[in-house]
């Protein structure tokens, strides 16, 4: 790329074309005062402080909006420029608290000095929490302002303390507009705007109400970007050290720094370099860390004696677990691992199940979210993971988001979608509910729950009929197209429109946009997978991508958004009943003997049970003992009344967790594991990026790292390969046995995450899958037919219940329900119901209602809203007080064994 050379303050500076003078100066380490410029935001030119003198340009141009040109001569610090800047700042200070800015004793004044105000200075006279980190202070110092020529006017706005995580003190606001711009430009939320004019200007929400009553999502980006003390976190203490790690909540895998002070995590800061999130975080990531030091954390092993838990020593607990588990046959045992735990934890857990317990009955919660992705995409492509990377979406021509409520469940990926739309991408949203994403969409297909196959096949038929397919790609890269084409016959537009409830023109338009606005990316999540035909849904998305050649290229592909922080990793590590690490089949004799040699023990040749069938087998008494790590099936399984009975029948249940979850209460022994802040390891995010998790604080009480506990049980039961000294050693073993992780080591991960497949230490990682050929060789078209959901509404249960997630909570709430602030923002579950349905039932917004299905009933609060279409009600599954999964249908997908969480029939009545 060509370089532009310019002179700033006599210094020669090299800049890239398109940079602004301000950026060029900053890159050369030259300070130009500014309040409104920010690398995350578009140039604004609002504060007029970054003005400079540029030869051959009249007046004082703002450096933040002036692009660099060859040979430019810039002066940033002349008397004339500073004179103007001084006036601007003096005017700003005329209605801004100024003690912290201009008192000449500011830096020297010690505690208990008596100052001119004739009071003892306890915290110095500086009460602003931003003191010494304030950009306005820097500017005042730079300009040497020591007195104020204008009469001081107080604004005296009341401080808005309504948000649980931050204050808004508008008296300190300098109206730089950064909070307004970040909220609108980056987040697409627009909770605040500058209202009124002149002296009355201020940053306010719609109707100037407290921030908590607005559509604010509490991500705290405004707080991060505020240059002064107007927006401050409620915890203002500063950490003494920061540890780089990866967020423990969702599958996006945001990089963050945990701030530590006195051995406690007390702040979180987004990490910019080498991360998927570019420094941005959502409310859970930034503020949801209180659970780490929550008083309810499990600190000691607990053994149930006479129905009550009693504290026990590690030796006693491990001995008991080892003896008990040793007393069962392999087929009577099951291990449920955790997508919340690290790769190392999962690797050791499945190794323990396979080598020591001699069973392949090992699974984890991916069964309940993305098992169809693994099953379906393996059939189509040969590899069941996101084909492209998060950062590519911004370059897409079309984004087809089906069955994903991205702003709630993957907030940082939603920022990328927002960016894509700003860059001109056409966003097509297919969702029965009017989710937030619909606001940015070009087209919204409001299809009936469970009609995805019909919708996608209908679109494909249009593409084929109108000749919009990529025949060259299909001929060269794919197979079985002719059989597939025959299957399309059944999906004429009329019947598709009838099944899906989407007007014909919209289906056709969506098909045309997807096929022509290349590159087109498909994003999907649980709305596709959690059906009794989830695998078919996944295959349909794969067919669509292959049909148009939208795969194996940048900004395209089929992109399942994984739910848990390490659900991808837990699958990669072989915490699945049918495969060893790296998806190597347990039924393959060659693979089996490779692992037998490496692990030093005989292994079971038969496929184990998936978690949904483990629960069923427990109910039937076939599984007698279970080792459950970091999972909470009593809220997450479908039909939990049944699941509860099943777990009750177990003779021996070990639960390894950080809190006494609903499930842990049923355990015979509880082993206290640690949170992500207390251990080393790696998480693999949704785009296959393996990233480091680093220990920031010591384990709470006597709790131990999860891999350590499994190793100790393994050793006690006579297992050989469990003598790991640290997590890094485990990764070495993983790399030696897992081809796709072959080149991954902790040393390499120090420089940032690596995307698998990464087979050798020199391999740079793979951002895009299937570029030259598919993992299975040729991409396979699979004919599909439409199958309705297993349970449809009838007279007795006239409404469809669909379940989902809230931004403020994570899964069964084991962690987020322990964070006080998140429970202020969302304190209870509710059932969303359309005004038309509500009116028929005589239900008003906020009423207590009873939701009843064939399997159980739940009392909760009604939220009457147009977000849910008529005939469909919606609940989240986070809340133990109103567990949606008491209602859901345990009907399983025949291939992936995932339950149908997204559709069941219910009726709603007044409680």
């Amino acid at each position: 790329m060509e370089e532009i050379r310019l002179t700033i303050d006599g210094q020669e500076v090299k800049a890239k074309p398109g940079m602004t003078v301000l950026e060029a100066a900053r890159s050369a380490g030259i300070y130009i005062p500014t309040l409104c410029a920010d690398p995350d935001l578009k140039p604004y030119g609002g504060c007029r402080l970054c003005i400079v003198e540029i030869e051959k340009l009249r007046g004082f141009p703002t450096s933040c909006t002036t692009p660099v040109t060859e040979g430019m001569v810039v002066k940033t610090n002349t008397d004339a420029v500073n004179e103007v800047r001084r006036t601007v700042v003096e005017l700003l200070l005329s209605d801004h608290p100024s003690e912290c800015l201009i008192c000449h004793r500011r830096k020297r004044c010690g505690p208990f000095d008596i100052c001119l105000r004739n009071v003892a200075v306890t915290e110095r006279c500086v009460t602003c929490a931003k003191n010494e980190h304030c950009e306005l202070q820097d500017i005042v110092d730079y300009l040497g302002i020591t007195e104020l020529p204008f009469k001081h006017t107080e604004r005296s706005y009341p401080v808005d303390t309504s948000n649980p995580f931050f204050y808004r003190d508008l008296d300190k606001c300098v109206l730089c507009g950064k909070c307004v711009r970040v909220c609108d430009e980056v987040l697409g939320v627009g909770a605040v705007a500058i209202i009124n004019r002149g002296f009355g200007s201020k940053v306010a929400t719609f109707g100037d109400k407290p921030i908590i009553d607005s559509n604010c999502v509490s991500c705290g980006e405004c707080v991060v970007h505020c240059p002064v003390g107007a927006l401050m976190p409620k915890v203002t203490e500063r950490p003494t050290e920061e540890v780089a790690t990866t967020c423990t909540y969702c599958g996006v895998g945001c990089g963050m720094y945990l701030g530590v002070r006195d051995g406690k995590v007390m702040s979180v800061r987004g990490k910019r370099e080498g991360t998927v999130n570019n420094g941005f975080l959502c409310v859970k990531g930034r503020f949801g860390f209180d659970f780490i030091h929550h008083e309810d954390r499990l600190k000691y092993p607990l053994i149930k004696k006479n129905g009550k838990f009693a504290e026990a020593s590690w030796d006693e607990a491990l001995e008991l677990v080892a003896t008990k588990l040793g007393g069962y046959k392999p087929d009577e045992l099951a291990v449920v691992s955790s997508a919340k735990c690290t790769n190392e934890d999962n690797y050791v857990a499945q190794k323990f199940a396979r080598v020591v317990l001699k069973t392949n009955n090992v699974d984890h919660c991916a069964r309940l979210c993305h098992a169809p992705t693994v099953a379906g995409l393996v059939q189509s492509f040969g590899s069941g993971a996101m084909t492209n990377s998060i950062s590519e979406f911004r370059d897409a021509g079309c984004i087809f988001a089906i069955g994903t409520n991205t702003t709630e469940a993957h907030p940082i990926i939603a920022l990328e979608l927002k960016r894509a739309v700003d860059n001109g991408a056409r966003l097509i949203v297919a969702n029965p509910r009017e989710i937030d994403l619909v606001r940015w969409s070009y087209l919204w297909l409001q299809h009936n729950p469970g009609s995805d196959v019909a919708l996608l096949m209908g679109m494909m038929r249009i593409i084929v009929e109108e000749g919009l397919l990529d025949q060259a790609f299909i001929d060269k890269r794919c197979e079985n197209f002719d059989a597939f084409k025959v299957a399309l016959k059944g999906f004429d537009l009329d019947s598709v429109a009838r099944i899906t409830g989407v007007p014909k023109e919209k289906i056709a338009e969506a098909a045309r946009i997807y096929a022509t606005k290349k590159p087109s990316a498909i994003l999907y999540a649980m709305g596709i997978t959690q059906h009794s035909h989830g695998t078919d849904n996944v295959i349909a998305t794969a067919n669509l991508a292959m049909l148009t050649g939208n795969i194996g290229k940048p900004a395209s592909g089929v992109n399942p958004l994984r739910g848990q922080n390490n659900v991808q990793g837990a699958c990669d590590m072989g915490a699945l009943p049918n495969v060893y690490p790296g998806y190597q089949a347990v039924t393959d004799a060659k693979v089996k003997s490779k692992f037998e040699a490496a692990w030093g023990g005989s292994l079971s040749p038969s496929v184990g049970l998936p978690v949904t069938e483990i629960v069923e087998a427990a109910y039937k008494g076939k599984i007698k003992a279970m080792y459950l790590i970091g999972e909470n099936p009593l809220l997450s399984e479908p039909d939990i009344t049944h699941a509860e009975e099943a777990l009750d029948k177990l003779e021996f249940l070990v639960v390894q967790d950080i809190f006494l979850s609903e499930t842990a209460k049923l355990a015979d022994v509880i082993l206290p594991g640690v949170s992500f802040a207390e251990k080393n390891g790696t998480f693999t995010n949704t785009e296959r990026r393996v990233q480091r998790v680093r220990k920031a604080v010591e384990p709470i009480g006597e709790s131990r790292a999860d891999w350590e506990i499994s190793c100790q049980v393994g050793k006690k039961m006579g297992g050989k390969g469990f003598y790991f000294k640290n997590a890094s050693q485990i990764m070495e073993e993983i790399a030696s046995l897992t081809p796709s992780y072959g080149g991954i080591s902790y040393k390499r991960l120090e420089k940032g995450g690596l995307q698998w497949p990464c087979p050798t230490p020199e391999h740079p990682g793979t951002p895009i899958l299937h570029t030259q050929q598919f993992t299975r060789g040729k991409g396979q078209f699979i004919p599909l037919e439409y199958k309705p959901p297993m349970e449809l509404p009838d007279k007795q249960y006239p409404l469809v219940l669909t379940t989902g997630r809230s931004l403020y909570h994570f899964h069964t709430g084991t962690m987020t329900r322990k964070v006080a602030g998140l429970n202020v923002l969302k304190k209870e579950g509710e059932v969303e119901i359309n005004p038309a349905d509500a009116a028929k039932l005589g239900i008003a917004d906020g009423d207590r209602v009873k939701v009843v299905s064939r399997r159980g009933e739940v009392v909760t609060k009604a939220n009457v809203t147009e977000v849910s279409p008529a005939g469909v009600v919606f609940m989240t599954f986070h809340f133990a007080e109103s567990p949606a999964n008491r209602l859901t249908n345990p009907a399983l997908d025949p291939v992936a064994k995932i339950p149908e969480y997204k559709v069941c029939a219910v009726r709603v009545e007044k409680a």
């Binding site: 705007a193 306010a204 719609f206 940015w440």
Partner: protein, 153 residues
Amino acid sequence: MELDIAKESERITANCSRDSSNLIPILQEAQGKFGYLPAEAMQKFARFLKLPESTVFGVSTFYAQFKLAPTGRNKITVCRGTACHVRGGVRILREVERQLGIKPGETTNDMENTLETIACFGSCALAPVMVVDKNVYGRMTTTRVAQILGKTK
């Protein structure tokens, strides 16, 4: 007669494209129809134009032509421009305030009159000027205020 805000708002946006540049014309039409901008209407417009509600609120509060509370049947505007000021505009304003018992920006309790000021009406030759709805009264005197206001009742 009370207007149905939701229905009227939809009628206002019916013939518009969903381009955000339509915001001000839409707000002007709503201001004309309702006499002010009801919160419900602003929310409808925000959703229609795919704009944040706060942005619509920001625009509504920036321009003097938009009101956030209902205004009276008659709008009385007293000019505060230089020429009117020199010719005693302040005294006219004080007299109107006294007669109506309200300050600029306020509306009488019976919802009959709303009082406003303007920086310059542009009829300086007629200074001091007072405007009642669409009628302009030039060369105003305090004694004529009562007369004119009597007419509006």
